[in-house]
């Protein structure tokens, strides 16, 4: 035990000696939570639209004003003919072109029917769909206002909506848990995989191997300090997301912290597993950063819901630990549900941790090559 404590102390010295890394270690999560909470959202605001008004009458003018004043759109250009559409899209600022047909107002009044076309830039499909949907809603709204009492007096259904868990529809609710999940796994896996390969690369591993420490003690000793640091990191992130975004932990805080500990432990052991298969730091960094970053961002449900992916990705993503942790953290933080709802995910994470530990102890080489 005393030997082990000595080893842990050595690890702490290694970490604290390098104050720059320590600074970054705490700076990264804080800065990223702030940036993503404020900067990134999937909503539409100020999307550029251009108008091609072939009619130029009072009705089209009113409708144009209504569309622009909605806050979703910003007028980029007024076009004169169809051939301008391609040009304006190629410049990239305009996401959609709204076209009023000839005699729009006249037709609407006399024939009761006028045609409006929306051409959206499909190279950004998400923006294209949202812009089309919002414009359609605004135009329909305008049409029923225009129809006036005749339509309003006829039978209507008035749906009410209750946005559960997130009444103000803030995208922080999606991003904060996602960023926590992403940052914890990357930082933890990076740290442990690098510290062990560093010992290998510099030859100090030999010193450890000839010491009476057993492999499991070396592994635990490497994990312990980073476990404590990462846990402090979690507390920091939670406090930040509470104070800055008012994102409280609705469920049990103890449960959340326990789950975070489990996830940290899992990520750290994953790092050790990576280090046992890497010969030098570059390789370890390559595997943990390039190998983990994109799959975590794209396949874990961080930005893109897994339900919408083709069926096969349900299986592909099931080997990624972040996928389960995102479910856990969203349930506890945002929905306020208890262990009852997340026991399956928790067990999967525990099993993954045990498998990683088992594999690393087995693969840990006590001989030099």
């Amino acid at each position: 035990m005393k030997r082990f404590l000595g080893f842990v102390k050595k690890e702490f010295l290694h970490i604290f000696r390098d104050y720059r890394t320590l600074f970054i270690l705490f700076g990264i999560p804080a800065a990223q939570i702030l940036i993503f909470g404020y900067a990134v959202s999937t909503d539409i605001k100020n999307a550029g639209v251009a108008f091609l008004d072939l009619s130029h009458d009072e009705v089209t003018q009113k409708l144009t004003d209504k569309i622009i004043s909605s806050g979703f759109f910003k007028k980029t250009e007024t076009l004169l003919n169809y051939s301008d559409i391609d040009k304006v899209f190629k410049k990239g600022k305009t996401k959609a072109v709204i076209i009023f047909e000839d005699d729009f107002g006249k037709k609407l009044v006399s024939e009761g029917k006028a045609t409006l076309s929306i051409i959206a830039d499909g190279s950004e499909p998400n923006t294209a769909t949202l812009v089309t949907n919002y414009t359609t809603a605004i135009v329909n709204d305008f049409a029923s206002e225009f129809a006036g009492p005749t339509l309003n007096n006829s039978i209507r259904i008035s749906p009410e909506v209750k946005m559960l868990y997130n009444p103000n529809l803030k995208s922080h609710f999606m991003f904060v848990p996602g960023v926590i999940t992403l940052i914890l796994i990357l930082i933890c896996a990076l740290m442990t995989s690098v510290t062990i390969t560093r010992e290998k690369e510099f030859g100090t591993m030999e010193v450890l191997l000839v010491s009476p420490l057993r492999p499991i003690q070396i592994i635990l000793g490497k994990v312990m300090p980073y476990f404590i640091l990462s846990f402090i990191n979690v507390l920091l992130i939670l406090v930040l997301s509470w104070f800055v975004f008012g994102l409280p932990v609705k469920g049990s805080l103890m449960l959340l912290l326990a789950e975070c500990m489990l996830y940290i432990l899992m990520s750290l052991t994953l790092g050790i597993l990576i280090s046992t298969v890497s010969k030098n730091m570059q390789q370890a960094i390559f595997i943990s950063l390039i190998g983990l970053m994109l799959p975590t961002i794209l396949l874990s449900g961080f930005i893109f819901p897994i339900e919408n992916m083709p069926k096969i990705y349900d299986y592909v993503s099931s080997v990624l630990p972040p996928r389960y942790f995102i479910v856990i953290i969203k349930n506890i933080m945002i929905k306020g549900t208890g262990l009852m709802y997340i026991w399956k995910e928790t067990i999967i994470l525990i099993i993954m941790t045990l498998v990683f530990i088992g594999l690393s102890v087995r693969k840990f080489k006590i001989r030099l090559e």
């Binding site: 390098d18 970054i24 999937t42 009761g112 929306i118 190279s123 499909p125 570059q282 930005i303 969203k330």
Partner: protein, 372 residues
């Protein structure tokens, strides 16, 4: 010139001596592209909903049929118990509950307003909004059906309507692969260039071999150029591989000039490599470099508008993107690949990238000290 050539050769030997890295820099992008490009879509369809129909009239059933008929919704559960429905919503079994209160059919029949209550799981705010918008669409259609029925009995009332047609250009079917491929390609090229170039430099410092260069008459800019060129080439080869995969595996159209795309990417890579080498002059160990690089990369990537709409960001974030090379290349790639934008359309992006590239490279050369 000969000096640079020899130095570049040395770099190549160093990179390809590491068997893992030399394979991984080409294999990892290919594998990740093949797996990740088809995965992602924002498109919502078959959104599972639960229905509590306390009304049980032809009208309420008509509405449910209408919902079932839309490709967007899938009625996966119906019950009479609020508790049961809420409980399953908590468990993520579906993402919306629609309550039809008793009296709905009667109210419609007697000309009163029919009430409905939708409860939507809004953890993902944008899906929730979209779901709500679609629900409103279905209800509006249902409404018009009823109104039409009434109008046949009262044909004197004209109904002004604006007919909306919509089309998507450049990507008629809104295929998300067209959108993701250029994005993922940029990320992979950035990650490989940025990480490896910097690590390579710091490694020389850490194991002391940089000393051997420092005592030779090699000029500072020689050394920086020699560190850049191999990764520039690797980045471009990865780009080419990515484009070939896009064509062969996903049949993604290429409207614009390939040369233009390579030009944009080269300028971009010089900017990114310049920044990488600049950061490496501050870092003493590979670990330090890695953390700083990770920090920059995540911010560059997520703020660039790869996965989220660029215009929705607050002004300060858009201002930050003025120095974010990833944001420029993102736009260049999508515009050139999908829309066939020409050099005059993207000249602003190219100039900005060039300025960033010159600044970062100059900084890297300046900050690099040959003295110990």
């Amino acid at each position: 010139m000969r000096t640079i050539f020899y130095l570049i050769r040395k770099e190549f030997i160093q990179i390809f001596r590491n068997k893992f890295i030399s394979k991984a820099i080409f294999a990892v992008p290919i594998v990740q592209m093949l797996i990740l490009v088809p995965a992602v879509t924002f498109e919502l369809k078959n959104v599972k909903i639960a229905i509590i129909d306390k009304d049980m009239t032809p009208e309420s059933r008509g509405l449910i049929n209408k919902l079932e008929g839309s490709t967007f919704f899938k009625v996966s559960f119906s019950t009479f118990s609020d508790n049961e429905a809420n409980n399953l919503l908590h468990r993520n079994k579906y993402s919306m509950i629609l309550r039809i209160p008793s009296g709905f059919g009667k109210d419609i029949g007697t000309g009163k307003q029919g009430k409905l209550l939708a409860t939507i799981d809004a953890v993902n705010a944008s899906s929730a909004q979209l779901t709500w918008a679609y629900l409103n669409g279905v209800i509006r259609d249902f409404n018009i059906d009823i109104i039409k029925k009434n109008i046949t009995t009262n044909p004197l009332v004209p109904l002004p309507r604006i007919q909306i047609t919509n089309r998507y250009w450049y990507n008629e079917m809104l295929n998300y692969k067209y959108y993701m491929l250029p994005g993922i390609l940029v990320i992979l090229v950035t990650a490989i260039g940025f990480l490896l170039a910097g690590l390579n430099m710091v490694r020389e410092k850490e194991i002391g071999t940089i000393e051997q260069i420092n005592v030779t008459p090699v000029r500072k800019y020689h050394f920086i150029i020699a560190k850049m060129v191999p990764f520039l080439l690797i980045g471009l080869i990865d780009l080419a591989l990515g484009l070939v995969i896009g064509k062969l595996a996903f049949n993604i159209p290429f409207e614009g000039s390939i040369l233009l795309m390579f030009l944009g990417s080269s300028v971009f890579l010089i900017a990114v490599l310049g920044l990488a080498l600049f950061i490496s002059t501050f870092s003493g160990t590979q670990q330090q470099y890695m953390f700083v690089a990770f920090f920059c990369m995540i911010i560059f990537i997520l703020m660039s508008g790869i996965f989220t709409p660029y215009e929705s960001m607050p002004m300060w974030a858009q201002d930050f993107n003025l120095i974010n090379p990833v944001a420029y290349l993102m736009r260049i790639n999508r515009m050139v690949m999908l829309k066939g934008s020409t050099i005059s359309d993207i000249s602003r992006e190219l100039y900005s990238l060039a300025v960033i590239a010159i600044c970062f490279s100059a900084l890297a050369v300046r900050r690099y000290r040959k003295t110990a």
